[in-house]
Every structure is written in structure tokens, then in C-alpha cells.
Symmetry: C2
Subunit: 105 residues, 2 copies
């Protein structure tokens, strides 16, 4: 499980997952979308593979990468379950003195 979160922590890897959601692609086709060397991209793919989020199927000289949808689903489910938004937490009893500032992005 930890590996899934670590894999999601890098923007390039999240983008790879987004690309693979559109369609399966070879490592080279994925590389075309980024401005990094092939070995670096290969490393990202390895991490995604080790996290179980993706798997590669050799076709000729290429390796076609696929999203491992079921594990992704499972992971997101676990995340939702961990925090289970919207239940089991009483509403904040009072207005906190320092209202949360929300200046993200």
C-alpha cells in the first residue's frame, strides 16, 4: 500500500497514469510526452510497476504499458475508507480561533 502512495507522489508518474487511462501505450510513446531521458522515464515506470498500478506486456521490441485498473480502484477505495469523509466525526463544536486559510494552488 505504501508503494502506491509513494508512486503517486511524483507529478510525472501521475501524468503517466493519466495517459494510460486514455489508452495503452508503449514506453517510447509515453516518453514522447515528457522532456526527460528514457532511463529516467524507465525508472518511473518501474516504480509504477512495483506499486502494482501498471503492468507491461512485451510486443515485439516494444513494451506496451497498461493501467492495472483493479488495483487503482482498490487503492482509492482504501484511501476513501481510511478517511471515510462525511461520517463518524461530530461537527466541530466551536469556531476555531484561526480559521483555516485556504490559499492552496
Amino acid at each position: 500500500m505504501n508503494r502506491v502512495y509513494e508512486a503517486l507522489a511524483h507529478p510525472t508518474r501521475r501524468q503517466i497514469l493519466a495517459l494510460l487511462r486514455q489508452c495503452d501505450r508503449s514506453a517510447g510513446e509515453i516518453a514522447d510526452h515528457f522532456d526527460i531521458s528514457k532511463p529516467t522515464l524507465s525508472g518511473h515506470l518501474r516504480l509504477l510497476r512495483e506499486a502494482g498500478l501498471v503492468y507491461g506486456e512485451r510486443r515485439g521490441t516494444s513494451i506496451i504499458y497498461h493501467l492495472h485498473v483493479s488495483l487503482l480502484e482498490e487503492s482509492l477505495g482504501a484511501l476513501l475508507d481510511l478517511f471515510r469523509i462525511g461520517d463518524a466525526r461530530p461537527p466541530d463544536p466551536v469556531q476555531p480561533s484561526s480559521p483555516p486559510r485556504h490559499d492552496h494552488e
Copy 2:
């Protein structure tokens, strides 16, 4: 957004979020659940704060930490949206030659 994923990448920080889901707690009470030094824990709390997942409210000499539920909800929503399990992806046309091994954990 990136900060949220980075914050979730460390098991201690995920556990802090889980503790805060149960109830609000001071930094010291959180520290009691871990076997790490207070400065290290303070660093984890700072990252969670910077990611917007958590906020601290001073009460006397303590600082009470709260889950910032709305941002957490928002983040999970974005994640679900990014992958949007279950639509926009045609079923895999053929059985891949190397079935995904699923030996995680």
C-alpha cells in the same frame, strides 16, 4: 495539489491523519502515538499544514490540530476525477500475454 500527494507519501503522516479523524489532538498527544522525536513529528505536522490537510489552533501552551476535512474531500475528489474509474475506457481488447501479477503487500 502536488503537496497533498507528497504529504500522503509518508506512513507517519497518513497515520496522523487517521488519528485526527477520530478526534482533534494536540501535537504532544499525537507525538505519544509514535516513537520519533518531537522535532521530527513537528516537521511532519508542518508538511501536513502546508498541504492544507490539517490546521493548528493554539490553546494555552498547546496547539490543537484539526483535520481540514473539506480540503481532504476535495483532494480525494480530484484523485477520483483524474482516474474516474469505470468509464471512458473501452474494455481491454484481448487478454494480455503476461497477466498482471498481483503480489503486492
